[in-house]
Amino acid sequence: MATQGSYYVPEQSKLPLFASLGMFLTVFGAAGWINGSESGMTVFFAGALVLASVMWTWFSTVIKENLAGLNNDQLKRSYVWGMGWFIFSEVMFFAAFFGALFYLRQFAVPWLAGEGHSAMTNELLWKGFENEWPLLTTPEQVREGEAAARFIGAHEPMGWAGLPLINTIILLTSSFTVHFAHTALKNANRKMFNIWLGATVALGIAFLILQVEEYVHAYEELGLTLNAGVYGTTFFMLTGFHGAHVTLGTFMLLVMWLRGLKGHFKHDDAFGFEAASWYWHFVDVVWVGLFIFVYILGS
């Protein structure tokens, strides 16, 4: 804890208040929009615009401060801790959904099918419903018939061998490329840094395109939808949130790439890039979990 004397405590800032306002408008608008209010969409986009421009300014400010040499090592450590715990919180967010998948698959569906201590559940309420995973015939479908049911299972589960496998390879590769970029930066090899990082961004985009492709396939050919009972529910929520995180991660890397082109980062001072790369590794690890639990064990 050496040079504490120069820990940079910023002056007053208008950013937090406006960020909060933007956040508020965004979610208030979103809620209204979802509930069918007419102004909801407008408020949502206005809020998102405010939030986005505040974030832009905020990050620019932080970058400028760093370039101006205001940040000492201790402050940089604060950023490192901050990013680390933020990623931990993201891990816990995914844990909730993985937990739900585990519970539904191991407990809820078997109970509905009369297993364990729940013979009467099946006998009285869902006669004829059977335990299977992926769940292709929902309890409601068995009881009410296809026509009356709200939740209609998929015709076929999503296999793991096609697009998902390709996507796994893409993401795993991108973890390596981003690591090579880091090594290149540490060796002060800016050219290789730009190339490897650019490659990572490209791989991220490729992943997202294939993911969209996969969703179209799910909806149009497999009948696998959000309404397809808990299989569809868990499939789309887990892969969907992962996809959202890949989008964010790709965007972060893209920004870092552009910054790299502008000559930001030094071999010993590249927190922004490093944070984005940790995030990218995290997204990758989540995908491996998904690939195992949603795709391989789920088809």
Partner: protein, 517 residues
């Protein structure tokens, strides 16, 4: 950097100063406490007598729900974050919080989140009415449309908590003055470090729970609907995985405050410092693996029921260590009983009683009878009001002279204590009885045999409410007209870096780090 506060309103709106932000957190939470308290007053007024006198059942449910939500998320949590903001940098010798701008962001989200939550009262179908635990499907398929706003309010509240906690962790781990090793940190800092960890771990899970609700309500998923292979009980598992650690999030910083106050007024070092640290960590660890004790009546398999019962009972061990250490700290001390000490001692007694009822609730077979009765309501007000609110009050009186440089009115403080103490017990002790006798929670009306105790309870509640107004008066009076605190170290038995700076604490402290031996 040697500048003072900015002038006017902009000081507060745009500040990055941990003391300003701490102050704003405290005032905000007090306002929320009054709001949540006002809802409680409506509840107690309706329950004053059997029969429906004041509000429709629908509105009563909204009161119960919003009372719980506002108290937990609006009053207690921000109040402790406020204390953390004020005290942690002072206690570890840091110039400010690690990430000052984000600190202000964490705060400013809150007023907006609660504005959003409160706005639901004016929406068609009314405010959330499904209890602060919002069990599906009452909160999904059967919820009023305002539930969507509730969900997003919880999201941004969670974002605020997560950012606030990350800030605290980064501060504690990275900003300590030279020589301030982890095992030299004041216990309040330790408890907050662990609390912040709990928050970062479980707020995202709450966000996950409300996200699943949102999807079930609007986008056709079936997490909580058996028709699609889901299970309403899944909601409860996810919720309580957050919810149980949450109750320790509420109490651990209170443990911290009490661990500062008791040694100060006993004029004796805290007994068993390291075991206090380990006990706090054990409580935090255990809190992750006991969640389903809130669900003993849902019909889990026997093995699950047994496991959660045993794990729950274990929490009594580290908590007991804390209680015993506090009492041993007082042992052969040289005690005086100023207001903070009175609240701290009352905390030890009443929290322990709440802990005992908690232990009883943890015994699964008996919980079949206690569950969702007023016995549970009594339990958690003993832990949360006599626990969190009393320890907060102790902390406020203890540090108020440091914050303002002025002394509060001791007579008024002691009077407030006794009114609060009596009012509190009058409110919540009889609730054990009606609960055991069969009165269920969350009802606007009750059978005649519960009438007498409920009337006592309501009288006590009004009394307790008055005592809170006395606290408010005392604080304002101190700020406006208090006598100057004579010494920087206001309490002669107090220890810690915060007492080495002048009173009131200057706007910027420890710009050069102190050397801790």
């Amino acid at each position: 950097m040697a500048h003072g506060p900015a002038k006017g309103i902009s000081r507060w709106l745009f500040t990055t100063n941990h003391k300003d932000i701490g102050t704003m957190y405290m005032w905000f939470s007090f306002a929320m406490f009054l709001l949540g308290g006002a809802f409680a007053m409506v509840i107690r007024a309706e329950l004053f007598q059997p029969g429906m006198q004041l509000v429709e059942p629908e509105f009563f449910n909204q009161m119960t729900t919003m009372h719980g939500l506002v108290m937990v998320f609006g009053a207690i949590m921000p109040a402790f974050v406020g204390l953390a903001n004020w005290m942690i940098p002072l206690m570890i010798g840091a110039p400010d919080m690690a990430l000052p701008r984000m600190n202000n962001w964490s705060f400013w989200i809150l007023p907006f989140a609660f504005l959003m939550l409160a706005s639901t009262f004016f929406m068609e179908g009314g405010a959330p009415n499904f209890g602060w635990t919002f069990y599906a499907p009452l909160s999904t398929t059967y919820a009023p449309p305002s539930v969507t706003f509730f969900i997003f309010a919880v999201h941004i509240m969670g974002a605020s908590s997560i950012m606030g906690s990350i800030n605290i962790i980064a501060t504690v781990l990275n900003m300590r003055a030279p020589g301030m090793t982890l095992m030299k940190m004041p216990l309040f800092v330790w408890t907050w470090l662990i609390t912040a960890f709990l928050l970062v771990a479980v707020m995202p899970v709450l966000a996950g729970a409300v996200t699943m609700m949102l999807m079930d309500i609007h986008f056709g998923t079936s997490f909580f609907d058996a028709a699609g292979g889901g299970d309403p009980v899944l909601f409860q598992h996810v919720f309580w995985f957050f919810g149980h650690p949450e109750v320790y999030i509420i109490i651990l910083p209170g443990f911290g405050v009490v661990s500062q106050v008791i040694p100060a007024f006993s004029r004796k070092p805290l007994f068993g410092y390291s075991s206090m640290v380990y006990a706090t960590a054990s409580i935090a660890f255990l809190s992750f693996i006991v969640w389903a004790h809130h669900m003993f009546t849902v019909g889990m398999p026997l093995a699950g029921e047994l496991y959660f019962m045993y794990a729950t009972m274990l929490i009594a061990v580290p908590t007991g260590v804390k209680v015993f250490n506090w009492i041993t700290t007082m042992w052969r001390g040289s005690m005086t009983f100023e207001t903070p000490m009175l609240f701290a001692i009352a905390f030890v007694i009443l929290f322990t009683m709440g802990g005992f009822t908690g232990l009883m609730l943890g015994i699964a077979p008996s919980d079949i009878q206690y569950h969702d009765s007023y016995f549970v309501v009594a339990h958690f007000h003993y832990t949360m009001v006599a626990g969190a609110i009393f320890s907060l009050t102790a902390g406020i009186y203890y540090w108020l002279p440091k914050w303002t440089g002025k002394m509060y009115n001791e007579t008024l403080g002691k009077t407030q204590f006794w009114i609060a103490f009596i009012g509190f017990n009058l409110t919540f002790f009889p609730q054990h009885f009606v609960g055991l006798a069969g009165m269920q929670r969350r009802v606007p009306d009750y059978a005649l045999q519960f009438a007498d105790f409920n009337m006592l309870s309501s009288i006590g509640a009004f009394m307790f409410g008055m005592s809170q107004l006395m606290l408010l008066f005392n604080v304002i009076n101190t700020i406006l007209a208090g006598k100057r605190a004579e010494k920087d170290k206001v309490w002669d038995g107090a220890e810690g870096l915060e007492w080495t700076v002048p009173s009131p604490a200057p706007y910027h402290t420890f710009s050069t780090p102190p050397q801790v031996k």
